[in-house]
């Protein structure tokens, strides 16, 4: 590190720049290669592109988790909930877009309402025919939930494992709620059979390409936003809270507000990720709320390396690629390899995959990189004075 008085790395430190360049290259290259005709050896199939689009959404989600867990020490086992809520907001918009092209040709009601003979559209479905409204909800609903939940939890100083478990309770409750058909979200089948978005056919390669690029951009922006936060003084306050919450209070920081702010930001990012995910996979249903999903995405982050942001991205992509590959290559026993992967990484790469790179490059100026050994995430009440 330099001895220059202002010795904090800026937003764009080496790793960030490295990451963004890779992202931009991928974001541009894939669509171009996809445009090539399929005979060309370099051709990237639409399948692969949609797949990567999906990974990018997961990556953004992972970044959101890393922000609260890596830097703030809040282990949220409920982030899938925010992801799914964003997804549902988008799904509802896409449902409304179908209009009278549903199998029953009902101009207003989505198919699942027609054959469960609902009479009129539930109030909470109003407005979703407008994209701007849907977009607003994508940000607002997860954000609002995170705000209310966080406001309750942080103000009453619920910390550590207790916080983790009630986040899990939150997503579990939502899971059960969305399974109920009375809720009007399509029950177990969820929302599916989407036709088009903003008037563009969802099945056309062009739209897919656009969505892919959009996901890449969202990831890039989300990443930069997180960097802005973690490199700001607020970011350092966050780390301070993670390591010694009480101490941070005694030097005059309103810990609960800091937590709330970052938690909400993270939730919004997750929501956006979900919203981009849905049109690319073509379905949103309650199983996205499943607590196991939330745990799994924590695993992505840990696998990539906590509190590095790019580690989260690497983890998300790695695990999901492994899944895609293994479920086809060794369908009967892929869980063995995945499970083994988790165990081995935790045992031998406590800093995640990125940990290796850091060891290789001591010059890496990412000052946040070294706070992984700190164990008291679960009892991050710091001072026992």
């Amino acid at each position: 590190m330099t001895t220059h008085p202002q010795m904090y790395e800026g937003i764009f430190n080496k790793s960030t720049i490295r990451f963004l360049t890779v992202l931009i290259v991928v974001a541009l290259a894939v669509p171009l290669l996809n445009a090539l005709d399929s005979s060309n050896p370099l051709h990237v199939s639409t399948y692969t592109m949609t797949l990567m689009g999906k990974y990018l959404c997961y990556a953004l989600l992972a970044v959101a988790v890393d922000l609260v867990w890596g830097y703030l020490g809040i282990l949220s086992l409920g982030h899938a909930a925010f992801f799914a809520l964003g997804g549902y907001a988008m799904g509802m918009y896409l449902m409304r877009q179908i209009g009278d092209r549903g199998v029953y040709g009902d101009p207003l009601l989505p198919d699942f309402m027609v054959f469960l003979n609902w009479q009129e559209l539930p109030w909470f479905w109003y407005g979703f025919d407008q994209f701007w409204f849907a977009a607003l909800m994508i940000v607002l609903v997860p954000g609002l939930l995170a705000f209310v939940f966080g406001w309750l939890a942080f103000r009453s100083r619920v910390t550590g494992v207790y916080l983790s478990i009630i986040t899990q309770a939150l997503t579990y409750a939502l899971l059960l709620a969305f399974f109920r058909n009375e809720m009007g979200f399509g029950g177990n089948n969820g929302l599916t059979d989407f036709k088009d978005i903003l008037g563009f056919d969802l099945q056309s390669d062009a739209t897919r390409m656009a969505l892919y690029v959009a996901s890449a951009i969202a990831l890039g922006l989300g990443y930069i936003a997180c960097r802005m936060i973690v490199t700001s003084r607020l970011g350092r306050v966050a780390v301070a809270i993670r390591d010694a919450e009480a101490r941070t209070r005694f030097i005059g920081y309103k810990v609960e507000n800091v937590k709330l702010f970052i938690f909400v930001v993270s939730a919004v990012l997750a929501g956006v990720a979900g919203a981009l995910y849905v049109p690319q996979v073509g379905i949103i249903n309650p199983s996205e709320f499943s607590p196991l999903n939330s745990i799994e995405l924590v695993v992505w982050v840990a696998l990539g390396g906590r509190a590095t942001l790019y580690g989260a991205v690497v983890g998300a992509v790695a695990v999901n690629y492994a899944k895609t590959y293994l479920t086809a290559a060794m369908p009967e026993i892929w869980l063995f390899s995945l499970g083994a992967m988790f165990v081995l990484v935790t045992l031998f790469l406590p800093k995640g995959v990125m940990g290796i790179l850091q060891r290789e490059r001591p010059d890496n100026d990412d000052s946040d990189g070294n706070n992984l050994d700190n164990g008291n995430d679960l009892d991050n009440c710091g001072v026992k004075a």
């Binding site: 705000f147 700001s232 009480a246 309103k254 800091v258 001072v383 004075a385």
Partner: protein
Amino acid sequence: MRLIEEFQHRDKVFDFMMPNTSPALDVGQGYLLYLEDISVSFDGFKAINKLNLYINEGELRCIIGPNGAGKTTMMDIITGKTRPDEGSAWFGQKINLLEMSEPEIAQAGIGRKFQKPTVFEQQTVFANLELAMTGPKGVFTTLMAKLSSSQLDHIDHVLGQIGLKQQRNLLAGALSHGQKQWLEIGMLLMQNPKLLLVDEPVAGMTHQEMDRTGELLTSLAGEHTVILVEHDMDFVRSLANQVTVLHQGSVLAEGTMDQVQSDDKVVQVYLGE
């Protein structure tokens, strides 16, 4: 996000109302801290019992007493960590400490150093000081905060005071025990509080370290008011004029070191053993 802005708003207001020493702080009577009839008990055990304590502005007061005398509990009450069952605690004439949260109290101008040195081990010495630095500490101000050159100088000055100039970019976790103690004191300086609560600052220090710490604390007295809890008698004698002896949660004796030491009650319960 409307709601976020709302609470950003609330923050701004709050920052405006509470700079590091509150305008409400009025030390007309010369007293900076009043503790009156404070009692608190933890499941049955009375940790503090009808404690009365008055601290003059600018004085350096040492609190001594055997273990379990309630020294640390008293500090917890002052800093809002613990709520007393009864009694009142006033900071100056106007600020009722019992109605405020830790951060508010800190912002009002009371800084605290813990018994066990607690610094942010994952961050550089510089960052530790910067975080402690006086000024508005709302979410959005912190998010946007930039270091002005004067603030930089202030930090460098304090680095000098606590003798950690070389270690500025070291992770605080890498410091020695003594250095951590100083860093924590340094953080207090950055906070620039009216009242410092210092809990056993020289515990586990070498003699040289002790002397430096002594100098530090005396240099603080005057512009800051200091309450020092300490076991080490020589160290206490070396700086304090006023000494308060706590025993079983209430004041046993008060006065200069010599007066206190000659007090037989004290001798009996404390120095005697």
